[in-house]
Symmetry: C2
Subunit: 78 residues, 2 copies
Amino acid sequence: MLRPVNATGRQLLAAAMRREREALQISQEALAHRAGLHRTYVSQVERCTRNVGIDNIERIAGALDISIAELFDRAADE
Amino acid sequence: MLRPVNATGRQLLAAAMRREREALQISQEALAHRAGLHRTYVSQVERCTRNVGIDNIERIAGALDISIAELFDRAADE
């Protein structure tokens, strides 16, 4: 049975990540490469189907050249 | 072999979580109960031995009566 997606945290992260990525004009693949993650994984995080861990949140924020705090701060502005 | 702890993200979260918990004057056990998590899990997050997922980060922030953005914002003030 598909676990009910816990929206808020995942949606916040996905929206902020996509916005920052598009602001840098880079693809999911380029972001994945920067973060040392697989393209599919980045796509799943942006589609809220991943309960992404703090270690990968940090990698993603780093790949977007911002801190974790900034990533969630900007997410809160959505 | 113990995976090398990725400090920054885990340490930020652990420090902010502990500070907010102590500001509320509640124990790890009380926080765990509020968040619907096990006491041991909360203790592991505060000791940076858990790659905690976004869903549980959200539960912890909620149990501390703050948003995820606020949790990491305050972490950045450390």
